[in-house]
């Protein structure tokens, strides 16, 4: 999996390259917007990590240019600008996700995983299947093996997101953003409570626990 990091802060890029390298990603670094745009045009990358504020060309311009040229490579914006308006600007420019600096590394890995995976599942699926867990998106039913699992609408959305990112770490912030569409950090452990409810519905009474807690990051649904 190849990642292009477009970031003018050399040290930040270095840390990212090392961390993502350890997670099994092959990283290339471009030091400014122009170099980044050239690299993105030339090389085949699976995910772009783009800083917003850079010399020569800023991140938004890079992504807009790429999108105009028909490049659909998933883009993760990385920025110190974290207001809702900034996020909207970034996503409107064509980015797929937005992470505010400073970030926790597990959060970055989780988001990159989610993006790199998204590309492979391009076709519109009507059912999702992870291990013996099966979700029918039309009938809105969930089965684990032969057992039908009754879920509340929000639990269904939560599980759907987990299933679409099966095998990947998903952070609490990502869940709050993608399932609830809230962009703030709750002080309390609200997400944990929702996850534990979901867990009790899909894992209780089964030998194997599918919904795992990933220390320091969040959760993962294993087949």
């Amino acid at each position: 999996m190849r990642i292009l990091i477009i970031e003018d802060d050399f040290e930040a890029a270095e840390a990212m390259t090392r961390g993502l390298g350890e997670a099994g990603y092959d990283c290339t670094h471009a030091g400014d917007g122009e170099a980044g745009l050239d690299a993105a045009r030339a090389g085949e990358f699976d995910v772009l990590i783009v800083d917003r504020m850079m010399p020569k060309l800023n991140g938004v311009q890079v992504v807009e240019t790429l999108r105009r040229e028909g490049d659909a490579t998933p883009v993760l914006f990385l920025s110190a600008l974290g207001e809702v308006g900034d996020r909207v600007d970034g996503l409107k420019a064509g980015a797929d996700d937005y992470l505010v600096k400073p970030y926790a590394f597990p959060e970055l890995i989780a988001r990159v995983e989610a993006l790199s995976r998204r590309r492979e599942t391009g076709a519109v699926a009507t059912t999702l299947k992870v291990g013996d867990l099966e979700m029918n998106l039309i009938a809105r039913t969930v089965h684990r093996g032969e057992t039908e699992i009754d879920l509340q609408p929000r639990e269904f959305q939560l599980l759907e997101f987990m299933m679409r990112h099966a095998g990947q770490s998903v952070t609490r912030t990502m869940l709050l953003e993608k399932v609830w569409e809230y962009h703030f950090d709750p002080q309390t452990n609200v997400i944990d409570v929702h996850i534990s409810r979901l867990r009790s519905k899909i894992d209780k009474g089964f030998d194997r626990q599918m919904l795992q807690t990933v220390r320091g990051a969040g959760y993962r649904l294993d087949p």
């Binding site: 309390t188 609200v190 409570v193």
Partner: protein, 467 residues
């Protein structure tokens, strides 16, 4: 050479322009009046002279030179509207009230002439008066001249011209004076504004233009400018305050973080501590600092902006329902009785994301401070005043009345809440959100005794009615 300031004003220039137009008009009027009246006087004199001449010619035809001579002598006595001279064939004067014709004796046919006559006025002084006359050669070869004194009529024309000229000069002088006064007036009003602008540009954000209370356009401009300056000063103040606050507020958590890391390092070096554990602890502390930073920044930005950005109109009950859905399981988990009472179909104008966060903060707080077995109630309703109220009531220990104003300030945490995690920024953020929407945050006593707890707290975020 630079003109005095007053002469360089737009108003004065306008005055000059109008004066120039007026002067031109006055001159044109004067010319027309002079031409019209002057011509008329001559025409009338000519007609009268011609009539007299015809009458005299008729007398001549009937009575010859003799008859004409008598008529002339007769008509020449007393008030003399006409002047006569009759010459014989050789140019010798036969009779006449003036010495001689002003016209060449040899000139053929009819001849008109303007001339001056010397007269003696009532004081005996010699005056020359404007006159006009017609000379004709009679059938017998004699020459008859008939003239008329037109000085009186001419004087009338001159009088009118003089009056118009005088009025014009007077108007120009008055116009110049009026223009100067109006300009000075305008300049004085503008000078106040200009001085204010100069003062602000010079860095004095407190400078304000004077509003005189005349409710005219200058007052309107001054008021508008003052409002703008108020807003600007608030924003600048907010930003400066934000900078100070961030610097100040982050110093203590950072110092704490540093101290803990130092202590951990000493312990690890002494072989007593677990390096990994120390790092985890440091990471958690850093996260805490970051959360604080984000909260302080959010509050500061809201305060500096003065108004919440990107406001839209939506159903506040729906927003509360979504939040309730998120927090209900948490309440149940903690053994709290959770109720929501949401009035449907209300509308509110607000920045949805930050309002959501504010509401989440209030519920977070309520859940955090309410002991097991308590109750949390979320309510959205419209007050009779039209304001929209989001309120969260809990049955926790509440906040004593004397502390209620204080807990809204940043970093204020009451003694009995020290054991709970938190930065003391939650309610400050809610208050900032309320203010950024033109609303307010109200703290009140809760429902009183409940399951042996109480008195509880009622936190209400009140937003102004949507127009």
């Amino acid at each position: 050479m630079r003109l005095p300031r007053i002469f360089r004003t737009t108003t004065f220039r306008m005055t000059l322009l109008f004066l120039a137009v007026f002067t031109f008009a006055a001159a044109a009027f004067l010319l027309y009046a002079w031409l019209a009246t002057g011509g008329e006087v001559k025409r009338r004199a000519d007609a009268e002279i011609t009539r007299e001449m015809n009458s005299l010619e008729a007398i001549y035809r009937r009575g010859g030179v003799q008859g004409l001579n008598e008529a002339l002598i007769e008509r020449g006595v007393g008030e003399r509207p006409f002047l006569y001279v009759l010459l014989d064939k050789d140019g010798k004067k036969i009779t006449g009230s003036i010495a001689e014709s002003p016209i060449e004796k040899t000139a053929p046919g009819e001849n008109w002439a303007d001339f001056l006559v010397t007269d003696t006025d009532m004081d005996g002084a010699q005056v020359r008066r404007q006159a006009r006359g017609l000379q004709e050669r009679l059938d017998g070869g004699e020459i008859l001249f008939v003239g008329a004194d037109i000085a009186e009529s001419e004087g009338f024309v001159t009088g009118i011209s003089r009056a118009i000229t005088g009025a014009g000069v007077l108007v120009i002088l008055l116009g110049l004076a009026g223009g100067a006064i109006v300009s000075r007036n305008v300049s004085r009003h503008m000078a106040g504004l200009t001085d204010t602008v100069a003062a602000v540009r010079g860095g004095d954000l407190k400078a304000r233009a004077q509003v005189r209370g005349a409710r005219d356009e200058y007052d309107e401009l001054a008021e508008g400018m003052n409002e703008m300056l108020d807003r600007l000063e608030r924003s600048m103040g907010g930003l400066r305050h934000a900078g100070d606050a961030i610097a100040h507020d982050l110093r203590s958590p950072l110092t704490r973080l540093r101290a803990r890391m130092e202590a951990a390092l000493i312990e690890v070096e002494a072989g007593k501590g677990d390096p990994k554990q120390a790092l985890i602890q440091a990471l958690e502390d850093a996260d805490g600092v970051l959360n604080t930073f984000n909260a302080v920044l959010a509050i500061a930005r809201l305060q500096a902006a003065g108004q919440a950005p990107d406001q839209t109109i939506f159903d506040p009950g729906q927003l509360a329902a979504d939040i309730a859905e998120l927090y209900e399981p948490l309440c149940e988990d903690k053994g709290l009785d959770f109720k929501a009472e949401l009035t449907p179909q209300l509308t509110v104008r607000a920045a949805r994301p930050i309002l959501t966060q504010a509401l989440a903060n209030i519920i977070d707080n309520a859940i955090k401070y309410t002991p097991e077995g308590g109750a949390v109630m979320l309510r959205v309703r419209r007050r009779s005043s039209g304001e929209i109220e989001f309120s969260v009531t809990d049955t926790g220990p509440g906040v004593p009345e004397e502390h209620r104003a204080r807990v809204v300030q940043r970093f204020v945490r009451l003694e009995n809440s020290r054991s709970e995690p938190g930065s003391g920024l939650g309610l400050s953020l809610v208050a900032a959100v309320a203010e950024a929407h033109g609303g307010r945050l109200e703290l009140d006593e809760g429902p009183g005794e409940y399951n042996g707890m109480g008195p509880g707290l009622r936190v209400a975020l009140v937003l102004p009615r949507a127009e």
